[in-house]
């Protein structure tokens, strides 16, 4: 087991290195960080431009810039920002904000996927199954931003109708936060409800299809038939033998979709005007703030890689047939 973990980590390092280098080249080529400065009217002096280029390390060759960036990361230096912000200090709180959204959305989506997937598998070809299938396809075809705007509008109307603020439609928390721990928690929850629903709704459909089809497959398996032949009640067989086995591959499916969820989070946060990873990315891309974009991509892709690794390990623990090879 330990050897497996170590080997997987060893395999991951070159991927991260190659990936980060390719991204570094790509992001560096995506635009001139000094573009806005150069276009300023009246024009800024060449000396200032040179100084700024030096600060942004543009006077060095690409490979050296990459090396400095990489070694800088290891010592906690995220590199210079066009906007002269401290990238590290800016990105961590934002990551927490987005992680809150993604985590809750994954949990909600998992619950939805399991309930709907299991029910449609058990009641295959029934009206319930067809209804769930239809809803799933509808959500699969629904742009997240459109659903977000729609729900936001409904919430605003609901708030106006009731004269209170049941759910918040702007921001990730009130500023300043209400006094006291409990009100703060409630405030955060009130803000997180709508974005979580949007993200979960637009993500769970493929998972519930997956649960449905693997449940159907497992239910027709010999070992489920044998379990029933033992005289165990159908419900017990369903949970203990069918669901448990069907769930194992779901872990990897969810982990692989994590990158997709972050994409969805960027969109959702934009609609609800959160100060999370979404707006950080979009403004950094617009400002051609190379090192800020790199920080974003590195953090998010590392999270995806780590969770994929965890999923693989979990798979190996849950299903002993995987020979950790």
């Amino acid at each position: 087991m330990l050897a497996y973990v170590l080997r997987r980590l060893l395999h991951t390092i070159p991927i991260v290195l190659v990936g980060s280098f390719v991204t570094f080249v790509m992001v560096s080529a995506s635009g001139d960080p000094l573009g806005d400065l150069k276009a300023k009217q009246p024009p800024v002096s060449q000396a200032i431009l040179d100084a700024e280029a030096h600060r942004m390390r543009l006077d060095q060759p690409l490979l050296e810039r990459y090396w400095r960036w990489l070694t800088g990361i290891l010592s906690g230096d995220w590199g210079p920002s066009v906007k002269r912000i401290d990238i590290g200090a800016e990105i961590w709180p934002r990551l927490l904000v987005s992680a809150r959204l993604v985590t809750l959305a994954v949990l909600l989506a998992l619950v939805l996927a399991l309930v709907i997937g299991v029910v449609s598998a058990v009641k295959r070809y029934s009206a319930v199954d067809y209804a769930f299938t239809a809803v799933g396809f509808l959500l699969l075809s629904m742009p997240a931003f459109w659903l977000a705007v729609l729900l936001k509008q409904q919430a605003i109307e609901l708030n106006q109708a009731t004269g209170t603020t049941l759910v918040y439609t702007v921001g990730e928390a009130s500023i300043p936060p209400p006094p006291g721990l409990w009100p703060t928690v409630l405030d955060v929850l009130g803000h997180v409800v709508l974005p979580t629903i949007v993200l979960a709704m637009t993500s769970f459909a493929p998972w519930s299809r997956f649960v449905r089809s693997s449940m159907i497959e497992v239910q027709q398996s010999d070992y489920v038939r044998l379990a029933r032949a033992k005289g165990i009640k159908r419900r017990t067989v369903l949970v203990r033998h069918a669901l448990r086995t069907a769930l194992v591959p779901l872990t990897t499916v969810v982990a692989l979709d994590l990158a997709v969820l972050f994409s969805g989070a960027v969109i959702t946060e934009t609609v609800f005007q959160w100060r999370g990873m979404g707006s950080f990315l979009l403004s950094s891309v617009r400002d051609k703030d190379i090192y800020a974009v790199m920080a974003w991509l590195l953090l998010v892709s590392l999270i995806v890689v780590v969770f994929n690794l965890i999923a693989d390990l979990l798979y190996a623990v849950l299903d002993r047939r995987i020979r950790l090879g």
Partner: protein, 697 residues
């Protein structure tokens, strides 16, 4: 055998099962009645699709959702058809338990074996403590012959061999002391020496629980040895039933007679030609009028096609469903089923010389057939000291090679025109690897193959050597028509489109598939017909040698006989040399001239067919031959059986010296320690056809 009383424990009356399908419905079981008496073993035989498994699942209430069940199944006084699933759950396991066909997939991979047995123990005794259940589970595992049951209970199914897993399944069936055990093809997926072990475990289960057993199988030999009474099913109906002796020695339904006649037998009926039953079972998705067997029955008359015969007593409790069952008294299979001449084989032979050779340097087949007959002819193929090792990667940090899988080790043989060499062995013996080496699908690690005394060139062999695979569904591209499939080798080797097509049609005709059927796709043919396409394709380049890799093991018995006869006819008229690879000793005995027995990649015994099968000398061959069930109740029950212990060891790091010593009755029995150390230290050479240090020469 068990002492049977007449008290019925399980009664089936007019049972019907129908499955919905794309067009309408398939009537898998069309009114089946029989009763299972306390303590008896009832054999249920029939070919695939005859409804025997559907009947079993209907009894258990385990049919897939959507299946419609009619009629009645009574367990003692309780009607089972129509019970709710939770009511049925109280019957399953406690009253009626079941053993399934495929032990590899019957156990849940994510739970330990002990847990799965204990689960069965607790199913009807929820108040039993977890530890007590585990204790009982271990006791059950010991009973069915799992070594070190206490330690192994914590292991997961994938850590057990197929035979061991089937024992676990039997332990599960025994767990709640059922009154009836339904065993659905319990040994079909297993090797013959393992089959003997599992049948033993099943007998233990029967003795321990006193349960009546419904033994479903297509293997008439197993029924002959195990069952008290037999039910023969065909197309969803019972066509004959009676005691084993009645049914085997005086069948009163042509189908049963045909089935017995189409079976190659290990006890050798001196080259008697098999009597296959023409055609295939009728499709069950439309109504059947008259006798379902009528289209294939040589005795069929008008009344058979209009009026369905009832299952009526012909002699005491011996029942048969045939209008003319009286005519069958005292008749042999070959009297009723006329041997069918292979359709146009002679034409092919004639054409072999006449038709312009597609491959420029193809040796005219006719000339070879007329080759030297006296003495030992010059071999076409000579394999010398073939060795094939596969690397096995470890699971450590750097995945160093963990060792080598010794698939084939120092195997030599030769093969001459018109001759059949049978290569027999159980799984892991390396027989399929030898086929791949011969066809250049794998590179040998050592040794080599000579064709006419010259080394095989990877591409040049195509015209002289061809292969027929085990599963025609798998070896025919599903997107090509029969004609295209047979034409492909010709096209690859330079024939024009028209020429290839003409030859393909001719070849298809020669294997009995003529006319419009050549434009059909593989899935539109039956299993036997698909294998005929495979044979026609293999013949396309006029090879001199055919490698037949388990060519009939995927087929039903009656169809299998047809393909075997075709192969014999082709050999007679074309002078082909066959390397016949099979695990089924009866088939090899029927078709082969010489035999080589493989164990873990080595030849342990070789020689003339009759010598090897009638007077086996190597301990492994002896055990193997004795383990094959004979479809003859009296002979089968009188036989002395050598049951091997344990499983075949892993071919990765196989035992030193003699590879068979870990299971060898001789080695484990009467040898002295000194003699044993020779077995472990020295690999026995293949001398005089036997590779054993202690055989009397």
């Amino acid at each position: 055998m068990t002492t049977a009383t007449t008290a019925e424990v399980l009664g089936i009356r007019d049972l019907t099962v129908a499955f919905p399908d794309e067009q309408g419905q398939v009537s898998a079981v069309r009114g089946v009645s029989w009763s299972l008496r306390a303590g008896e073993v009832l054999g249920v035989v029939g070919e695939s699709g005859c409804g025997k498994s559907a009947t079993a699942l209907a009894v258990m209430g385990l049919l897939p959702p959507g299946a419609r069940v009619g009629g009645s199944v009574r367990f003692r006084d309780r009607e089972l058809v129509g019970l709710r699933d939770d009511e049925m759950a109280s019957v399953r396991g406690r009253s009626v338990a079941m053993v399934f066909q495929d032990p590899l997939s019957a156990l849940n991979p994510v739970y330990s074996v002990g847990f799965q047995v204990a689960e069965a123990v607790r199913a009807h005794h929820p108040r039993l403590g977890r530890e007590q259940a585990v204790e009982r589970a271990i006791a059950l595992l010991e009973l069915v012959g799992i070594p070190n049951a206490r330690d192994r209970a914590a292991d997961y199914p994938h850590e057990f061999s197929g035979g061991m897993r089937q024992r676990v399944v039997i332990a599960i069936a025994m767990a709640d002391d059922p009154d009836v055990i339904i065993a659905d093809e319990p040994t079909t997926a297993l090797d013959v020496t393992i089959q003997a072990q599992v049948l033993d475990a099943l007998r233990t289960a029967r003795e321990q629980t006193g349960a009546a057993t419904m033994l479903i199988t297509h293997d008439l030999g197993v029924v002959a040895g195990q069952a008290d009474r037999v039910v023969v099913m065909y197309a969803g109906k019972v066509v004959e039933s009676g005691t084993v002796e009645e049914v085997f020695y005086s069948p009163r339904m042509p189908y049963t007679l045909g089935l017995l006649g189409s079976l190659p037998r290990l006890d050798g009926r001196e080259d008697a030609r098999l009597t296959p039953i023409a055609g295939t079972p009728p499709p069950l998705d439309r109504p059947i009028t008259g006798c379902a067997f009528a289209p294939r029955c040589p005795l069929a008359r008008d009344v058979c096609r209009t009026e369905e015969p009832a299952l009526v007593p012909v002699d005491g409790e011996h029942l048969a469903a045939c209008h003319f069952s009286a005519e069958l008294v005292g008749r042999r299979p070959q009297d009723v089923f006329p041997p069918r001449a292979a359709p146009a084989v002679d034409a092919v032979a004639a054409n072999a010389v006449a038709v312009s050779a597609v491959a420029a340097n193809a040796v005219a087949v006719g000339a070879v057939a007329d080759g030297p007959v006296s003495g030992r002819p010059t071999p076409i193929i000579t394999a010398s000291s073939l060795v094939k090792h596969y690397r096995v990667r470890g699971t450590g940090l750097f995945r160093r090679d963990r060792g080598e899988l010794h698939a084939v080790c120092d195997v030599s043989f030769d093969l001459s025109a018109g001759e059949t060499l049978g290569l027999v062995g159980e799984s892991g013996s390396g027989k399929s690897t030898i086929a791949k080496l011969l066809m250049s699908l794998e590179e040998p690690t050592g040794g080599g193959v000579l064709l006419d005394g010259r080394p095989l060139s990877p591409r040049g062999h195509a015209r002289d050597l061809q292969i027929v695979f085990q599963d025609p569904m798998n070896s025919l591209d599903p997107r090509m028509t029969a004609a295209d499939l047979v034409a492909e080798p010709l096209r690859i080797n330079g024939a024009g489109r028209r020429e290839a097509r003409a030859r393909a049609l001719e070849l298809l005709g020669s294997v009995g598939l003529s006319g419009a059927r050549s434009e059909r796709y593989p899935h539109e043919f039956s299993g036997g017909q698909r294998q005929r396409i495979g044979i026609a394709r293999a013949l396309a380049l006029r090879p001199r040698v055919l490698v037949l890799d388990e060519p009939v093991s995927a087929l039903d018995v009656s169809v299998q006989a047809d393909v075997i006869n075709l192969l014999e006819d082709l050999q007679d008229s074309l002078g082909l040399a066959y390397l016949f690879i099979a695990h089924d000793l009866s088939v090899v005995r029927h078709i082969a001239d010489r035999v080589a027995v493989l164990y873990l990649g080595r030849v342990v015994e070789t020689g003339d067919r009759d010598t090897v099968f009638d007077h086996p000398r190597h301990p492994y061959t002896r055990a193997l031959v004795s383990a094959v069930p004979l479809p003859d109740p009296r002979k089968e029950r009188a036989r002395e059986r050598i049951i091997l212990t344990g499983d075949v060891p892993s071919p990765v790091n196989p035992p030193s010296g003699c590879r068979f010593r870990t299971r060898c009755p001789l080695h484990l029995g009467r040898l002295t320690d000194e003699q044993r150390s020779r077995c472990a230290g020295e690999t026995p050479a293949l001398l005089d056809g036997v590779a054993c240090h202690w055989v009397e020469r």
